[in-house]
Symmetry: C2
Subunit: 417 residues, 2 copies
């Protein structure tokens, strides 16, 4: 072993964000949580804020709506700071799936000339499914592009695919949920728009760990999740982004009363609100919005540049340790080796990946995630992950293989979580 644990300990001592770990509920100090990109940890402040909100419901009752009604746009502007949007370009509402549906439908209504919907064959399933459904209902082609297995989609991919026939909408993930590859957002946006398509980004795996300059890049549309690096809790509401100058030309397919221009006049005909609020649908989930607000504030306090820097250092340590200890045991790195080209998680493939993932959870108190067909995925959320967590995770993983202990875990399981 050339990279000793004391090296990781030294990195922790020098970590400017180290104190943020204590801002989270750490119920089990033995456990290494490497799945914060699936469900982020619980911030201590969130416990207090939810308690306060519940008390407010009990006390103010319907009068609470005077303030709550502003939350989708207000918390949205907070998310806007994280993703580089201008005020009035972001909302928090509904799920990522529903937001993707609303924006993709609205984008295709705007184009209104046919044209394919271009997706990455390896993108997160709900993205492909939603766009498959929309394309099917409109008789449009869903063009599934094959991209570099690890590096993911590039501007060249988009240009090549568009040459095969008109593309109306390109929808891609900024960071791949599988490999952690970070797409070149400005270049791909430009390539998509050069072909005449609108560009929609899913920022689920980048929001809160990669500084995104969405408005500056000229991106048209965006969606993303708040329960990963924004730590807003299971099923917390998602966000959506629409570039300012597109807003008045676009309409949500869901004409709900919260997107109505003058909601409480209850007038006979629907008129969309001006601005981003036209993309609201039904009554916003106030418990969830409160948790998003609390999680978001921690991210903004830490600062995105510092989070990015630490995330890169955490994954870099993993890669060094992988080369030294995992590769000789049959692992293959499934993540870009250049830290500029990846987000905050890393994946390693192994022919017994599923069994190894179960063994880590059941026998080694390490919580990664599994992604078919064979990838074990480690997310190191920089707000609360330590360098020793990375070191210990790799160490425990290597020992499970070296001792053969992982084979004692059943290869079968009811569900991949």
């Amino acid at each position: 072993v050339t990279v000793h644990r004391r090296h990781a300990e030294a990195l922790d001592r020098a970590d400017a964000l180290a104190d943020f770990r204590e801002r989270f509920v750490l119920a089990d100090q033995q456990r290494i949580y490497a799945d914060g990109n699936s469900l982020g940890r619980l911030p201590r402040e969130t416990v207090a804020r939810l308690d306060e909100l519940v008390r407010e419901w009990g006390e103010r009752l319907v009068g609470g709506w005077e303030d709550w009604i502003e939350l989708p746009a207000r918390v949205g502007d907070g998310i806007g700071e994280v993703i580089g949007a201008r005020p009035g370009e972001t909302l928090v509402c509904d799920s990522t799936t529903v937001n993707l549906y609303k924006l993709a439908s609205a984008a295709l209504d705007l184009r209104n000339e046919g044209g394919a919907v271009l997706v990455d064959e390896d993108d997160f399933p709900t993205n492909r499914y939603v766009l498959e459904g929309i394309a099917a209902s409109r008789g449009l082609e869903l063009r599934r592009m094959t991209t570099a297995p690890i590096e993911g989609p590039s501007a060249q991919d988009v240009t090549r695919e568009a040459a095969a026939g008109d593309v109306a909408l390109v929808a891609l993930s900024h960071v791949s949920y599988r490999t952690g590859a970070l797409a070149d957002l400005p270049a791909i946006t430009e390539a998509a728009q050069d072909t005449g398509a609108l560009m929609l980004w899913d920022l689920s795996h980048s929001a809160g760990v990669v500084p995104v300059r969405l408005s500056d890049s000229g991106a048209d549309l965006g969606v993303g999740c708040t329960y990963k690096y924004l730590n807003a809790g299971p099923g917390a509401p998602a966000f959506l982004f629409v570039r300012t100058d597109l807003q008045e030309r676009m309409r949500s397919p869901v004409w709900g009363w919260f997107g109505q221009r003058d909601q409480f006049r209850m007038r006979a005909r629907y008129q969309p609100a001006s601005g981003i609020e036209r993309f609201l649908a039904g009554t916003p989930p106030i418990l969830g919005l409160t948790a998003v607000q609390a999680g978001l504030e921690l991210v903004l306090e830490a600062g995105l540049e510092r989070l990015r820097e630490k995330a890169a250092a955490l994954t870099e340590l993993f890669l060094v340790l992988h080369d030294e200890r995992l590769e000789p045991l049959g692992f293959r790195l499934s993540t870009p080796s250049d830290s500029e080209r990846r987000g905050a998680h890393v994946s390693v493939g192994h022919e017994d990946g599923w069994q190894i993932c179960r063994a880590l959870i059941e026998r080694a108190e390490v919580i990664p995630d599994f992604r078919p067909p064979d990838m074990v995925r480690f997310g190191f959320a920089p707000l609360y992950s330590r360098f020793v967590d990375v070191w210990d995770a790799v160490d425990r993983l290597a020992r499970l293989i070296e001792t053969g202990e992982y084979r004692q875990v059943s290869a079968k399981s009811a569900r991949v979580t």
Copy 2:
């Protein structure tokens, strides 16, 4: 005065549900809350359950999904008991608006022959808006029917409207948000189906106070809200109902990963889950679902027959008091006088309705709601409302008018809440 306060006190002493009031947080005993049909009160148990769920998030982290993933269908089956659905016919997910969008779209896909969408011109705005949007996007006619101003839609209305041209979908509210009129659900369902249309009910103002026999009535589709009489909190997730034998023939327009047959295989093509879960879209909101579960259990414990009986008695007392004290002051009853024909709220019209509503809130500690153009609406949620609340509310209202005090409140306000 012939109906004295002691009469109301006697009714409270005889009230079999009286003890349920203490199961709620009652932050201000002076205030009379008559808007539980807009936002229900906070059950004490909900405070504990949310606290427990938040702790579970902190401790189990992503592992919590093993249990959480069942919540939309499990809590849905609980709602099913409230609305008379069979197990496997109800889900809790998304907002009422989004659920209405999903089911109405799926219904029109199923019909696939054109045909109008029939709505009530006086229905709750989001219902009309959503259906207006869907009809517009498909080039279908949105037929807005005019119904009896107080009694609302009847089977005859539906038959008459269908005679004017093919109707594909009839979408109506079971209880009118304005007048409290209770529609004849079985008769209207039959009339709609006789014309070849599918029947979709919005149960927002009946779920939890009117026993609904949705499956027995043969209704096709339903949606509804949980933050009114189910007391699940601001923006809590809504429910949807699809009759068993329709499920396999219908598809949600939103092809999300939670509606996918084998969610974690992440296979390349979308295949809807069998059964009601195909109507899920994105990740379900676990905080909200937990609050729905807690609120629901109180309703089931109290029993729908008893809730219905008490709600009828509460509104009956209001009507008697209205005739005696309010009508002479210029009020007009805007609610059916037959208790069999109304839900749990009553509305009274007055030319200064808006100002009177503000005065009740600002000067009399009575919280009603205002519905344009001139209605003051009083909801008496039977789980926590007392008969003396009804008496005191009418008494305070009458005094505001008799003394002219209500005129001291500004007639202008920024927003109707």
